[in-house]
Symmetry: C2
Subunit: 164 residues, 2 copies
DNA sequence: TAATACGTTCAATATGGATTGAATATTGCG
DNA sequence: CGCAATATTCAATCCATATTGAACGTATTA
């Protein structure tokens, strides 16, 4: 491979790491994917530790995460005992799965609080309406509406757009 | 305010902090917004430092960020020297601005690398096509296509969906 | 203009979460 | 089965970055 190509490749790996780092999922994941994506031959964990100067643990964990998002897949090479991985190039599917995972995780855990709040509102409908309580009820309602709409948009549109 | 309401409010603040922390923009921003959002009266920086037990610097910085995203606005209260802030409840607009800011920031810096790569491809069209170079060219092309589509989707759809 | 009250900045520090690597589990092979 | 090679786990460590707070800047009042 020419020097220039090697250099470009190196820059892609670096940038991949910067991107994943900046979105808060760690530098190694981006580096690992970039390395595999720009390797003509399927790569092993040892290839990763050597090329990226990372630990065995990091290599193992990053590849597993990438596999879960469908960003890489394992391929069998006869006569070899190590696991070999090659990159998927359908970025739409990859991003979709990753977002589903990362954002979905977050939406789950917020609900009980809103439910508790609505339960409170329902109960307090009967009692005297002091102004502060009124205010809180308004705000909670607004928040609930937004949450519902966000959920709807998320479910119905964003995924389809990114998928293909 | 009733005990129960106070408790709910506290939980919203905590959760706000968890959310912003988990997306990598710091706990204080989420806490600050939640506190202001659930306050009937406009709040000062000192209110924030006291309620959230954070430093003056943190309060100042978080409020400024929130202001930049249109999540809070300053209101004048006659006879008061401190700045007072109240929350905007149009979450669509807030999220839109924040995403524009956070994601836009990232898209900018990625381009020169792709441009350099395409320049290389153009130049190497004439020279002998060794297999590795061929492979790299394919991968770069795929990446470029994805980047363009992502840009298009981002520009044309996502923002409009979230806006209203 | 000085004195005071408040907001902002940024170098220093604390903290959360990414990374490591030795210990452990698993897999492939004779 | 037992051995060797490879992969995974997770407590300890490290590091990026969020947070702090003293110093500085700015606005208001008398």
């Amino acid at each position: 491979m020419t020097d220039e190509l090697t250099q470009l490749r190196q820059r892609f790996i670096e940038r991949g790491g910067q991107i994943t780092q900046s979105i808060g999922i760690g530098r190694v994941i981006g580096q690992s994917f970039a390395h595999i994506y720009f390797s003509p031959e399927p790569q092993t964990l040892d290839d990763l530790t050597e090329a990226l100067q990372i630990s065995k643990g990091s290599a193992s964990m990053s590849v597993r995460q990438l596999e879960q998002w469908g960003a890489v897949r394992q391929v069998w090479i006869k006569g070899e005992r190590k696991d070999h991985y090659q990159a998927n190039d359908d970025f739409g599917r990859i991003i979709r799965r990753a977002l589903l995972d990362l954002i979905g995780r977050r939406m789950e855990t917020t609900d009980t609080l809103l439910e508790d709040s609505e339960a409170y509102i329902k109960r307090s409908k009967t009692s005297s309406p002091d102004p502060e309580s009124k205010f809180m009820q308004q705000r909670i309602k607004k928040l609930r509406h937004f949450r519902d709409r966000a959920q709807y948009i998320w479910d119905s549109s964003v995924l389809r757009l990114l998928l293909k």
